[in-house]
Amino acid sequence: MNKVVANATEAIEGIKDGMTLMLGGFGLCGIPENCIKALTQTPVKDLTCISNNAGVDDFGLGLLLRNKQIRKMISSYVGENAEFERQLLHGELEVELNPQGTLAERCRAGGAGIPAFFVPAGYGTEVAIGKEVREFNGKPHLLEHALVADFAIVKAWKGDTHGNLIYKETAANFNHPMATAGKITIAEVEELVPAGHLNPMQIHTPGIFVNRIFQGVDYEKRIEQLTER
């Protein structure tokens, strides 16, 4: 077993033009900072990025947007990003908006071998356009399809050499369901330990879902909305 890679550059090897990526995080919380930066150093473009948000102008996915490496976003909320708005209005960027829970469940389903499932969210709204509607328990539901990615890129707090991951606090968010849904899943972690150093009852993402892992460097962990008492 050899999942450990040296750094982000090595981790993202094989990501090619036109591929679909999943990127974990909620806002700027728990985003794979190292891999995003490494992607900006490559010429890879026309990416479809599945990510709940789109970062801010100068951090997170905003960096890839600025470089025009992204062709399409699949997200639930893309506010707070002027460059995003500009590209969208100029037709340089395509966006598919999903209800947040549907987005999370589509990733989970992709990892769990469930090609499609019914949910109530979005019925009667523009999200329902083109989707099969079926009633269950007297309530209309939409058929939603699983998402899988060529590469899922996630960030965890601790990880081991078997790829087992533990997230810190609310940084689990989309990282966990996305980690299960990559054809290749890359995990960057703040602390990488040998297999056996994590409590097997406290793992959030079992290593079977993770293909490459490395200890990231220089985490900025930028706060989007600093609120204090």
Partner: protein, 221 residues
């Protein structure tokens, strides 16, 4: 006198019950947390992956890994739990959240809600709003009764893109508390000093007025 945002939140807080799991949206709904009656245990769910959300952190203790759905730094209370987004929406979609409070641009007299998109303006996305309105057992909308230029936001039919259909049961505005039934908006309470006629004039959708309408009172807390 129309209610302030704080008073809208204060009135909504009267709907809380001990042991409730509550999801509070951004804006006025967030303020409801300030009016949880003393001695009552209400657990706040934040859909990014947190049960037992506490107040903002003390100065200098903010933790970038501990935020709420509004991306604000927060804290966690004893008995709280962290989890991932799929689990979070399993809770929401599965009907485990007792009460959802959220804002809206428009509500129709059949319970439709529009709250996420204004054509011609930049779309930011629906976030978790569609999941919440489609699945919560109990939803209260906190909103202004009319727009800044005086147009009613309580309509026969929403004019903006919908967030959900036939899902809203209760509304608390700056002017009134209303319930939505098959008959339309049923006026339950009015803001102190606001007349029934004022509410009539401010409501475009079907408005049902049965008997004497009491003024809103607030629990002292």
């Amino acid at each position: 006198m129309a209610l302030t945002k704080e008073q809208i939140a204060q009135r909504i807080a009267k709907e809380l019950q001990d042991g409730y799991y509550v999801n509070l949206g951004i804006g006025i709904p967030t303020l409801v947390a300030n009016y949880i009656p003393e001695g009552m245990e209400v657990i706040l769910q934040s859909e990014n992956g947190l049960l037992g959300m506490g107040p903002f952190p003390k100065k200098g203790t903010a933790d970038p890994d501990l935020i709420n759905a509004g991306k604000q730094t927060v804290t966690i209370l004893p008995g709280g739990v962290f989890f991932d987004s799929a689990t979070s929406f399993a809770m929401i979609r599965g009907g485990h959240v007792d009460l959802t409070v959220l804002g809206a641009f428009e509500v129709s007299d059949t319970g439709d809600i529009a709250s996420w998109k204004i054509p011609g303006k930049m779309v930011k996305g629906m976030g978790g709003a569609m999941d919440l309105v489609a699945a919560a057992k109990n939803i209260i909308v906190a909103m202004q009764h009319t727009s800044k230029d005086g147009k009613s936001k309580l309509l026969k039919a929403c004019t903006l893109p919908l967030t959900g259909v036939k899902c809203i049961k209760k509304i608390v505005t700056d002017l009134a508390v209303l319930e939505i039934t098959n008959e339309g908006f049923v006026l339950l309470e009015r803001a102190p000093g606001v007349s029934v006629d004022q509410i009539k004039n401010a409501t475009e959708g079907r408005l049902v007025i049965k008997g004497e309408i009491p003024e809103i009172t607030f629990t002292t807390s």
